[in-house]
């Protein structure tokens, strides 16, 4: 497995350089479990797409559909939603087709959820940037944004994160506020835009 196995798009997995070494029947011990995990994941994936499609179709058809020669604003999205529903069903059904291969895109069958703390930190980072940036200016915004993101790392220490946040804030304020003239006050006080 390459090191960036979840790097979606980063690795070149899925492309096979070597031709298959011969006919290998799928009687692997873990194969059954892998297949079930794969089916569950594809069911979720397809279900998500179908649900999105249903939402888009319903909302889209509320706008005027019009006729083919004079399309209303709802026509294009409604068609897209319908296509998405069909694709979602096909994705969910694909692993049940004969000869379906497990994890063909190289991702592990079951998503690894162990990094939830890091994810939370990364997602909170822009939120804190908005909250602090809006009310108190760029310096507090940048500091909070970097600090919370840095805390997501496995090896993070509070001291290291504080230092990193301070360094990035000083450098960032100089770069964006003075050199690039981004119109965001460095320090301010007040709620609202």
């Amino acid at each position: 497995m390459s090191r960036l196995s979840h790097g979606g798009g980063r690795t070149a997995i899925g492309l096979v350089v070597e031709p298959p070494a011969g006919r290998r029947p799928v009687i692997d011990r873990g194969a059954d479990r892998k297949r079930d995990g794969m089916r569950r994941r594809e069911l979720l994936a397809g279900g998500l797409m179908a649900a999105a499609g249903i939402g888009i179709t319903m909302k889209g058809s509320a706008y005027r559909l019009g006729t083919l020669s004079h399309m209303g604003p709802g026509f294009f999205p409604t068609v897209l939603g319908a296509i998405l529903i069909v694709l979602g069903l096909a994705i969910a059904a694909a692993p049940y087709a004969p000869g379906a291969v497990a994890a063909e895109d190289g991702h592990d069958a079951a998503p690894d959820l162990s990094q939830w703390r890091a994810w939370l930190c990364i997602l909170l980072s822009p939120v804190l940037f908005i909250v602090f940036g809006r009310s108190f200016g760029m310096i507090p915004g940048a500091f909070a944004c970097v600090l919370i993101a840095a805390l997501g790392d496995r090896d993070a220490t509070l001291r290291g994160c504080l230092i990193l946040a301070a360094v990035v804030t000083i450098f960032g304020a100089a770069l964006f506020s003075w050199i690039l003239q981004v119109p965001m006050p460095l320090l301010t006080w007040g709620i609202g835009a």
Partner: protein, 510 residues
Amino acid sequence: MIGTALGDLWTGFGVALQPVHLWWCFVGVVVGNMVGVLPGMGPLATISILLPLTFGMKPVAAVLMIAGVMYGAQYGGAICSILLNLPCHPPHAVTCLDGFPMTQQGRGGVALGLTVLSSFVGASWGITLMVFLSPLLVRAALQFGPADICALMLLGLLAGSTLARGSPLKGVAMTVLGLFLGSIGTDIETGTDRFTFGLTQLGDGVELIALALGLFGIAQFMASVNRLAPVNHRYTRIGIRDMRPGLDDLKQAFLPMWRGTIIGSLCSLIPGTGPTIASFVSYAAEKKIAKHPEKFGTGVIAGVVSPEASTHSSVQGDFIPTMSLGIPGDPVMALLLGALMIQGIQPGPQLISEHPDIFWGLVASFWIGNIMLVVLNVPLIGVWVKLLAIPYRFLYPSAMFFVCIAIYAANNDFFQVGEAALIGAFGYVLLLLGFHPAPILLGFVLGPRLEENFRRAMVVSRGDIAIFVERPISAVFIALCALLILSQIYFRLRAANRAIAVPPPPSFST
């Protein structure tokens, strides 16, 4: 014909050599080179972060810089593969196979030197192709009616989503999702607000920068955090002197380099097959025709030179449909077109005649930028290698700040930062479920134009959908689409009949 192209190219050099343009080309190339080396940072996120900076520039400078980041990153990616065995950039993953063994044998410098050389050869060939092919393509494309454009876009989108990595079904689903995201906002023809949920900020649609940074910045960081292995620095001490290849090495490299170049340019002409596929195909081809195929994987020069040349010739070739037809082949090209549209320039076949300075300036800057890269790469490799010592836990929090401030700076609006966070969370869910989000960007950029041309075609034909098969040009594109889908089904069925387990993906780590 050839004469006019050369004349235009001459004016292009005039544009590209203006100090301002030289400067931005240089900035783009250096920044691209740097992020190309850093694992966990991609050219897509970098270009999106730099995008707000381009708003204040002239369109030519903006395009030169963005393109510079793009091909600069390609040079950097090879360094990462050869010295560290890290396939951080998909097109260079295959270079690890023979590049890293060369490094282990103490010939990493030679591998890098040859890579720079073959990259330059590949890129030059790709640029030459662009000079002569683009005007031809444009001449044909100017005859296209709305139905033809529509069919061509359909082909581009289908190819981009089915030939890329992963399941074709999921790829198409991502494209459709992208098309939908592109339709959010005020409908141009009727003025109706679509899917805005009453939020005025969504009236202008989803912000391109927020989408790109959500998918390829935030979601990407979530995927890489705590998962990147520490970098192995054992072999990273490379001096300038080590990089000079011997005469014997050059002899061994010469033919594979040209074969790779040709394969790369062929791949770039098939829509949807980008540099990644080109590099894999050329590696496989080298192995097939080699006298000693068993030696591949132990540090064979051909196994480094051919995929690298192929990557670069295909990267440059990708600009051909992007600039001459307005159909991007990969998400970076989609971003480039997005940047042009932000500048108020409509991509499409009319671009070359309406804005010759952009097109020919870009072509000329490719050469200038590639020469800069060759010159810079030699002394800078040492610097980049030192940069690699920065652990990811310092890198991604800093990048998060850059992401936030870049999105804010695009419109001075906090709303879009939140938009990006939401898109990032959703994008990571997609990654977890095995989707590749790249086609979303293609669909997003092409969506509004696809809808517009579809509407126009339907007005012209008075609602008769048969126009797509009655017009010869669009009929050809539709036939190609059908062929693409049928071939996918055929391969799937054949695999099912054989019931062969897919071999495990190639492993690049030792």
